[in-house]
Symmetry: C3
Subunit: 348 residues, 3 copies
Amino acid sequence: MKKSLLALAVLGVFAGAASAQSSVTLFGIVDVNARYVKHGNTDAVKQLGTDGINSSRLGFRGVEDLGGGLKAGFWIEGAMSPDTGAAAQTWQRRSTVSLMGGFGEVRLGRDYTPTFWNLTVFDPFGTNGVGSSLNLFVAPAALATSVFTGSGAATLVRASNTIGYFLPSGIGGLYGQVQVAAGEGVTGNKYMGGRIGYAAGPVDVAFAYGQTQVGSDDKLKTWNLGASYNLGVAKLTGFYSNANSDFFGGVDGVDVTQTNWMLGAVVPMGQGEIHASYNKASGKDDADGLSAKQLAVGYVYNLSKRTALYAQYSRITNELTAFSVTAGSVAAFDDKSSGAEFGIRHSF
Amino acid sequence: MKKSLLALAVLGVFAGAASAQSSVTLFGIVDVNARYVKHGNTDAVKQLGTDGINSSRLGFRGVEDLGGGLKAGFWIEGAMSPDTGAAAQTWQRRSTVSLMGGFGEVRLGRDYTPTFWNLTVFDPFGTNGVGSSLNLFVAPAALATSVFTGSGAATLVRASNTIGYFLPSGIGGLYGQVQVAAGEGVTGNKYMGGRIGYAAGPVDVAFAYGQTQVGSDDKLKTWNLGASYNLGVAKLTGFYSNANSDFFGGVDGVDVTQTNWMLGAVVPMGQGEIHASYNKASGKDDADGLSAKQLAVGYVYNLSKRTALYAQYSRITNELTAFSVTAGSVAAFDDKSSGAEFGIRHSF
Amino acid sequence: MKKSLLALAVLGVFAGAASAQSSVTLFGIVDVNARYVKHGNTDAVKQLGTDGINSSRLGFRGVEDLGGGLKAGFWIEGAMSPDTGAAAQTWQRRSTVSLMGGFGEVRLGRDYTPTFWNLTVFDPFGTNGVGSSLNLFVAPAALATSVFTGSGAATLVRASNTIGYFLPSGIGGLYGQVQVAAGEGVTGNKYMGGRIGYAAGPVDVAFAYGQTQVGSDDKLKTWNLGASYNLGVAKLTGFYSNANSDFFGGVDGVDVTQTNWMLGAVVPMGQGEIHASYNKASGKDDADGLSAKQLAVGYVYNLSKRTALYAQYSRITNELTAFSVTAGSVAAFDDKSSGAEFGIRHSF
């Protein structure tokens, strides 16, 4: 009985003309921390940081049952900056409309790229905070130290103007998706890629491939493989990523390959969890010799399902590179970059 | 009993101190399509388009019963761009506060202009998508091909800083409104206008007049007449619009008149609907000889009240003009412009 | 029974995984008025104004019961501009996450500064509209007439990147808070301050101190004292504020002190209220001789708890200063500035 009242309430609040099976959800996350960052020999900087273990966000999503096994859904979600509140609210984290059924899901709009999923799902830090695996993917400026930044591709995490298809769930642990993104005349936006994975019991493994138009005849081609194995006392995770572009820094024929690999673990301890990862990035071809390492550890204490306290530390060692533990700051070439965060994450 | 629970829920969610008759509604639309656009002899462009049959939006609105037949209400609604999610959320589609009662409604804020209603209500495409009647009102750039664009008036669709009055419903089919907008020192913003109409049985007919300050002593004066008749098997619609300004392209004394007329039809077919319209724009006085035609057809299939699939096609023939089927792209003078959209519209 | 259904509904709508004690609230205010402003001998300007008696806003807030007397909460709230709808939605009015318990509250994010509270709480106009006490704190441009504007401090009302602590309620009428804000390299942002007060029966009195980094070695130091006494037939209020900076207009060593005091009253009359205040600002030290006065009266008629109509008038007399009754317009030095507002405030 309680359930039907609940559905009724949802209906009443949000959609006068909706059918009884509908629901719309407001959701969000506020993640704020006290952060200390140090690059090379410069003084440590104290900040009120955000997004330590989850990206701060605000969103609305809903699903409508169309009958006959068919559903329609929407999802709009944008970033928030609770340290200053200053960022204009957009819906750039995701804005999609979907048709879903036994055939799977067709999704249109702005969405994550298939190639991003293996990086974030298998990263013990979920590509957030000072220990994010993405720290060794994105150069603070468009330096020769990152094939993703230097090639001008805008599709490392998300793409606009996409049409995607997802396999249905319940086909023996298999999952997968394909996606195309219209470039609409903007270099670095045109993308196509796919991902195929298998999850059953303690095992989860997935492969993804994607390519982005970065010059008139040039593509950033990237593939990655991620996996995790749950031992119970700990979940071990890892990924390997390879990305190549011969259009780099605006110059055709400069051939840069970047490989990244990560090994990590999540160890549950009562209401808490220890997270740890080791990341390594290497330049090849015209970026030969460039190298960076990141070691990160963290502890998350869950006050509830929605609210957690956390502490985490990360340190990057650059070798001809200039990666940083925070997106906002630039480390000099060959410098170390380290950071610590003590924060709270609250979901709603 | 269900109804009272529903009201209770609404109350609980949104307004702790509200009276029991209150309600606040979150609402929105996500409309995304695969679009093909072609101008003259240039290659067709593939896009992920939006707003094919309805403008994508997010909004909140509510009504409070003040007792004694008096009500207060608010409405904030802004555009969304689900193809990229990039547009900052504003409330420029409408942001108003109202007092309502037996006397009608007094409304303050940003709102549609009275002169816009006849264009959108009687357009089978609701002034959305490649077949929108507005395509022949708004020049892609401020060319001599549109008196609305060229005069610098910002009031074709909406006005800021308005005070409006609406007749109450239930006065024998009569409806109407008047509106004034403070210019606040911005040329093209100061507006006053009104609309009067009659709807009963199969008939709906309305007349509107408005004038916008476009120079120190100059006004864009516009009037239009719209009507529809529902035959049952089809609803026939049409409008005629006349707009004149003798301040054009920043020059006083350039006298431009533009007339637009439209004939259209909506034919219901089970869960679907066929939409069709023919639009013609003509320049007069200093814009004599300019002319453009648009022919548009579409099919909407309703999966539910909230969700629809659609396909539509439109083609503009320019004669000394440069109108386009999409706001984002510019057709050369005398070029044809055509576009097709295949999409989904989901309301919440 | 009704109460449990209500909680259930809240839960269902907003937080699938939430515990039953949780709630999330959407809230907001739309405040729009017809405003007349006149500076010196210039013509009166007619505007559709906003924020006459309350700042227009949109927000979401929630509290989660973590058990054991501990709670987590969030609050995001941003301004709205219902006259034009044009402002991009941000959350700059407040964006915080909190841990609350018997110990009080720890709050992180963007929040009001402790020194602001005495100015707004004891102002009969709540620092809103043409009669706001802030009118004599903020110069329309960075003139030598305001130590707050001229010193470059950005912390008169709010600060970003703050960590704050609030005393718990229920400790014998005592209340208080302290706050530090990380500057993060931006001059005028680094702040620390506190406030301590006592409220019991008809009495409320509070003292606050704050200092903001405005030069490499320079601080804006401000303290204020506010109080109110409720006689029943009227509530009398007042504050005194002293602010000093020897870094002014970008020049080190220019020593400016500004004092402001206010006396006011709120007189309840059935469903209505009369508000009145007298403000005086005086420059000292290098701003010696500068002076401004403001006299303001208003009447608010409450149609309900959420909706009110209001009329108010304010007049500023400048003496070597250039303060204005509206933030958007600049009065010449020594000019009078006056304004009247007739509006509606609707909360949701």
